[in-house]
């Protein structure tokens, strides 16, 4: 029996969320949950355990970098892989996100195959 994985998408743009959900529908046995912003994301993380978190950086209320910082101090999710997605392409932002504990960094505009490959890599899903 194949393992069931769960992924939390934290993204304030409904358009990007929908696109990510479409892309991740191509990954077998992956259940996706959506959160509108960092606060909503933290609320969902408090109620369930996720195998992967995908978060935007630029969000109102709580941005992605703060979310990464909070997740890394959370005893349940401190080891959960995190992918940062943002429009910012600068090396500085990338390094900041990675220094805070993000595992991977994807810049917008995103390409579904790239997201799928990164998700599979972090969840160690073959094929």
């Amino acid at each position: 029996m194949s393992s069931q994985y769960s992924c939390l998408i934290v993204e304030d743009s409904p358009m990007m969320r929908q696109l990510l959900v479409f892309a991740l529908a191509r990954v077998k046995n992956l259940r996706v949950t959506e959160a509108d912003d960092g606060i909503d994301g933290m609320r969902k993380l408090a109620n369930a355990k996720y195998d992967l978190i995908i978060t935007d950086i630029n969000m109102p209320i709580m941005d992605g970098l703060k979310l990464v910082k909070r997740v890394r101090t959370d005893p349940i999710h401190r080891d959960t892989p995190i992918i940062i997605i943002t429009t910012e392409g600068s090396q500085e932002d990338r390094q900041r996100a990675l220094a805070l504990g993000a595992n991977a960094y994807i810049t917008k505009p995103i390409q579904a195959p790239q997201v799928i490959a990164k998700v599979k890599e972090l969840l160690k899903i073959e094929g």
């Binding site: 743009s13 358009m15 696109l19 479409f22 892309a23 191509r26 600068s90 505009p109 195959p113």
Partner: protein, 283 residues
């Protein structure tokens, strides 16, 4: 001293001549000697022949062994040739399978990319028509331009029918107040509005400006341009436009105007659909 013959005695033979006897003895001796010599020669010859025969037999055995070995080698060579042919066949099949696998992987990647494009187009269209609130549509348009196309700075111009000019109603990366109205037919934006054809730069799309946008997409409604989306420049990580962008330009050209017009009309009617008669009269 002489000895007497015992028992029966030989019959007396007449005495031969001494010379004759000597010759006879000589003849006999010669005869026997020659016989002995001949025998000896025959024995020697026999021995030589035996040796020769042994040599020949040994040589024969050697030749037979070599022949057997040659046959074995021939058989081995034939087998090697067979195996080589089999190996070539297997390599050919392996190459074919490899080529098929590569072709399949390429087709899979192409299909995945096509899926990704269709998903982007579906999401863009879905989000654009998911609301009739003008502000929301403009926000969706801005998100689409920034997040799907990778536009760093852009503006959405709408036509003011009374003044025959375009005015910026929303922008990103450039303050909307700083954008001057565009007269029909002037500059890249005005020309795109007049012609109704989208234009974009080949190559570097990051270095455009308000005066020389990287792309101008006329928004069409019933064969009429009602505005222009101008992408001034793209993000660094989006160095040039790709095939999906051209599909998105087409989608924006056809759908953005109708979404904006519908939202404006809906707002003018107090965000109500109104009486159903006009719909019922269509039947």
């Amino acid at each position: 001293m002489t000895s007497k013959p015992r028992g029966r005695t030989k019959p007396e033979v007449p005495q031969a001549e001494p010379d004759l006897l000597a010759r006879r003895d000589d003849f006999i001796q010669t005869f026997f000697r020659k016989g002995a010599q001949l025998t000896e020669e025959l024995l020697k010859e026999d021995e030589a022949l035996r040796g020769r025969m042994q040599n020949l037999e040994a040589e024969n055995a050697k030749l037979r062994a070599q022949l057997r070995s040659d046959t074995a080698i021939r058989e081995l060579l034939a087998k090697i040739e067979l195996l080589e042919a089999e190996k070539r066949q297997l390599l050919d099949r392996f190459d074919n399978a490899g080529a098929f696998g590569r072709d399949f992987a390429q087709r899979f990647a192409d299909i995945e990319l096509e899926n990704s494009k269709l998903a982007s187009l579906y999401v863009a269209s879905y989000q654009l028509h998911s609301t009739l609130d003008l502000r929301s549509i403009l926000r969706q348009l801005k998100e689409l331009l920034a997040q799907f196309i990778g536009a760093r700075s852009f503006a959405i111009y709408l036509a003011d029918d009374t003044k025959q000019e375009l005015r910026a109603v929303a922008s990103e990366g450039v303050p909307v107040a700083s954008l001057r109205p565009v007269v029909a037919g002037t500059g890249p934006i005005g020309r795109a509005w007049n012609s109704g054809h989208a234009t974009w730069v080949d190559g570097d799309s990051t270095a455009g400006s308000v005066g020389a946008p990287a792309a101008c997409i006329p928004m069409r409604l019933d064969e009429r341009s009602v505005g222009v989306i101008a992408v001034f420049a793209t993000f660094e990580q989006k160095p040039e436009f790709v095939e999906l962008d051209f599909e998105l330009f087409r989608l924006l050209g056809a759908h953005a105007a109708s979404a904006l017009a519908a939202a404006r009309l809906f707002a003018q009617h107090g965000t109500r659909i109104g009486p159903l008669e006009p719909f019922l009269e269509l039947e």
